[in-house]
Symmetry: C2
Subunit: 118 residues, 2 copies
Amino acid sequence: MRKRKIGEKELTIAVAQDAKTKQVLMVAFQDEEAFQKTRETGEMYFYSTSKRKLWRKGEVSGNTMAVKGTRVDCDGDALLYLVDSKGGACHEGYDSCFYRDFDGKIVGKKLFDPKDVY
Amino acid sequence: MRKRKIGEKELTIAVAQDAKTKQVLMVAFQDEEAFQKTRETGEMYFYSTSKRKLWRKGEVSGNTMAVKGTRVDCDGDALLYLVDSKGGACHEGYDSCFYRDFDGKIVGKKLFDPKDVY
């Protein structure tokens, strides 16, 4: 995989897509460690650019993602993971982080109240 | 939308997904100009990080993308466009840029020979 300088770090873009519904759930980043941990465990790991550390998806919320399939794009700087998402993917309680359109209209499904989780 | 320093420029990640099949077609970037041009025209524009300029998707290949729906993610640094993709999305001739899995197995559909186009 190819990395890009994103903020302060060399990272690869990682997209998670629901393996069954094909809904795009989230876009985040992976460094080498997150990539390898994901390969080894079959669970999604990212590099958190805000916390500047390895982030196991669902480590707080319990909403983990199990990898069911993998794709790499033509120039290798973006990875696509087909996943089985447990609970809502978004920390705001929705099924997907892409729960709004450009006009702010809510198009996602609310699955939990963030206050109950974080 | 929120931008991140990606390489030398402040950019937003833009994912194109087929509005009908839900296949993820490509991941690229938008600066303000590409974002606005896309809004105005209803056709996908990106910022090319290799050519360092505005890039109308399909300007060479004719394989344009018409915007059918929009999504923004929770923290605003990634945009998802639901598109009607004309011809193959990938410059390597495939339906999607994500035509290989991590083991290199071809899982995409070849729609044209790049030699005939570029």
